[in-house]
């Protein structure tokens, strides 16, 4: 589904190399996790995939279903089935959450040549999905993420994911800033979307989240590269011994 080959990325403004040849292949229905110390390039990977400005791809490729997504605008990547759950969801004053969700859903449907959802259909769906994530009507009415707690913001990300039904979900440190209960709720939301076809790339510092969202493959990223890949046991190793041992081992 998603294939990243030798991805090399510079930060445009600082002329600094962040990614130094990332290779990653995620098959249909698979859940991969990327772990790694601060500054290893985890979040950059997610931003480059989603199409954020400010990064220059100097080499390599990223394809979704064989299509080069690095050439696409962010909205085209989204319509192609890519979704990034933000580490820091953006607050947007003056744009209602509901309006935002509906515009997003219908923009994607339109881009794919599908019929737009009617107001009634949309409302029915969003209410049901919001309920399972314990998002109340008030949160739907409020401006996007404005005045939301850390947990509410992350739940709102998962709600967007549930509404947009992407094929490839990238979760950037979705566990950051969450207490145990909130993390469980978010993880349940994610697990509900696991249907054997949809794929996930879960970026996290900690093993905790992976207790709830069980990965098939765990990658360790350091200094802009994936330095080690393995099964879920790799995450436990990190939890117990930290990154130092692994990094020393691969150095």
């Amino acid at each position: 589904m998603l294939e990243i080959k030798n991805l090399c990325v510079d930060l445009e403004e600082e002329d600094k190399t962040i990614l130094k040849g990332v290779d990653l292949k995620i098959g249909e229905g698979e859940v991969h996790a990327i772990m790694g110390p601060n500054g290893s390039g985890k979040s950059t990977t997610s931003y480059v995939l989603a199409g954020k400005d400010g990064y220059e791809v100097t080499a390599g490729s990223a394809t979704l279903f064989g299509e080069d997504i690095l050439e696409l605008d962010p909205e085209e990547r989204a319509a192609a089935g890519l979704f990034l759950a933000f580490q820091y969801p953006v607050e947007i004053l003056g744009v209602g959450n509901m309006t935002f969700l509906r515009t997003a859903v219908n923009s994607q449907r339109k881009a794919r040549g599908e019929d737009e959802l009617s107001a009634a259909e949309f409302l029915k769906e969003v209410r049901a999905k919001a309920k399972s994530l314990k998002i109340d009507a008030d949160m739907l009415k409020r401006p996007v993420n404005v005045g939301f707690s850390g947990g509410e913001k992350k739940r709102n990300e998962i709600l967007q994911m549930a509404m947009l039904e992407p094929k490839m979900c990238v979760l950037d440190e979705t566990d950051s800033g969450l207490d145990v209960d909130a993390m469980k709720l978010v993880a349940e939301g994610v697990n509900a979307l696991r249907d054997g076809k949809r794929s996930f790339l879960v970026i996290t510092h900690y093993q905790r989240l992976l207790d709830h969202i069980k990965p098939d493959v765990v990658h360790i990223m350091a200094d802009g590269k994936i330095v080690k890949s393995g099964g879920p046991e790799l995450a436990l190793e990190v939890e117990n011994n930290g990154y130092a041992d692994i990094l020393a081992e691969v150095a």
């Binding site: 199409g51 990547r77 953006v90 947009l164």
Partner: protein, 429 residues
């Protein structure tokens, strides 16, 4: 009172068009003569005047208007779904056939033409009076010229709560039309009146509205200036506020090559409230100037100025806003915000916020910002599949929304918002 004895700034040289006063009854002739004398003394505004530093008045003072092509936007007219008394002006001339009868319970409505025929009229205590008061400390010669020459407009006196708004609809049919309209509106104590205005009016329009809001009265004003690309307009709203009264005015401006909207508001009674707000969006040759002068001369009054401008492709936005707090006007709460959103590098927003305070127990704040669209928010929206243009529109509308929210009536604010939304959607194609 500060300024009361100060002479208006005299021009070193001035131009004054040859003006023949219209004929009318005794009271209005007297008002016109006085206004003409003032206008002659001040001279017409010129580019070098400090007050016109950011807006070139040449095309507003020229003998003939610059022709403006008629623009048919194929939209249904604004406020069509609002129950109201419709009064039509075609190229600045009142059209009785198109208009509803001037009947509304609790409100007397007549045309300036009719009122001007009488020798004695209550309007003599108002017509040109607030305009004259508003000439100090800064002269507003185009308003004086309007008082001297206007034959069109309405004279309205509200004695109670009006059951529905009075709506002025300004049609533009002649490419060379030059309109001068003067509305005189008096709200008696406790009255409540809403005035709606929409349409381009003429190739060039000089409009004055004088509003006297007596104690405990409430005045609401929602205006959408017509979208004809080439129209020009200079408008002045002069308001005087009595005790515990309320004045709220909102203006939407989309397109029009030149607009200068002045609001001159004076608090004369304690515990009153005034809001003036504006949202504008313009492209290319669009030039839009909001000039506000609020004088607090009473205790415990609150004023709000909220102005938002979205500009692109070389459009220019101007804001000059002043709060003057007179000695003794304690507990004044003055708020002013003006913000420009520039959608590209070619557009300009000029802001000149001013506070002048002669009382010691007041809270006045002002803020002025200019910036580009928030790229982080834009990325967030596009990453959800919302096309770049649509996302930009959503953020633009959110930005203007803060001014639109100043409209008290929710139906009217929704009408304005929906109009902007549709306009933006059409531009996206």
């Amino acid at each position: 009172m500060i300024y009361a004895n100060r002479k208006p700034i005299k021009k070193t040289a001035y131009v004054m068009p040859d003006v023949a006063l219209p004929t009318g009854g005794a009271w209005i002739t007297e008002a016109r003569k006085a206004a003409l004398a003032s206008a002659s003394e001040y001279g017409m505004p010129q580019k070098r005047d400090e007050y016109w530093k950011y807006t070139d008045p040449t095309t507003l003072t020229s003998d003939a208007p610059t022709p403006a092509a008629i623009f048919d936007n194929k939209e249904e007219r604004l406020f069509d779904d609002v129950d109201r008394v419709k009064v039509f002006f075609v190229d600045g001339i009142y059209n009785a056939e198109m208009s509803d009868p001037l009947d509304l319970a609790g409100v007397e409505i007549e045309t300036l033409e009719t009122a001007g025929q009488a020798d004695i009229h209550w309007a003599s205590a108002l017509y040109g009076v607030l305009e004259t008061n508003g000439q100090r400390p800064v002269p507003r010669p185009l308003a004086a010229l309007n008082t001297a020459t206007a034959t069109q407009g309405l004279v309205i006196r509200a004695t109670g709560k009006a059951a529905k708004p009075v709506s002025f609809i300004y049609l533009h049919q002649d490419e060379n039309s030059d309109a001068t309209i003067h509305h005189t509106i008096k709200l008696e104590a406790g009255a409540d009146l809403t005035i709606l205005e929409n349409g381009p009016a003429a190739a060039r329009c000089n409009m004055v509205m004088e509003v006297d809001v007596a104690d405990n009265a409430s005045f609401h004003h929602v205006r959408a200036q017509g979208r004809d690309h080439e129209r020009r307009a200079v408008t002045h709203i002069f308001a005087r506020l009595g005790k515990e009264s309320s004045f709220k005015s909102f203006t939407l401006t989309v397109n029009g090559v030149l607009t200068r909207n002045e609001a001159i508001i004076e608090f004369k009674g304690d515990d009153a409230h005034a809001t003036v707000a504006g949202a504008c969006a313009g492209d290319g040759t669009f030039h839009h100037d909001d000039t506000v002068f609020i004088t607090h001369d009473a205790v415990n009054c609150e004023s709000r100025q909220v102005y938002k401008k979205v500009l692109r492709s070389g459009a220019v936005g101007v804001f000059q806003g002043k709060i003057l707090v007179q000695p003794g006007a304690q507990k004044t709460d003055g708020y002013q915000i003006s913000q420009g959103l520039l959608l590209d590098d070619n557009s300009t927003f000029q802001a000149k916020p001013e506070l002048e305070i002669y009382a010691d127990d007041v809270a006045c704040s002002h803020g002025s910002t200019v910036g580009a669209i928030d790229e982080t928010a834009l990325f967030y929206l596009t990453s959800r599949g919302i096309p770049h243009g649509t996302a930009q529109d959503m953020l633009t509308l959110a930005f203007l929304g803060e001014a639109i929210e100043e409209i008290e009536d929710e139906t009217l604010s929704e009408t304005i918002r929906a109009r902007l939304e549709r306009w933006m959607a059409r531009r996206q194609g």
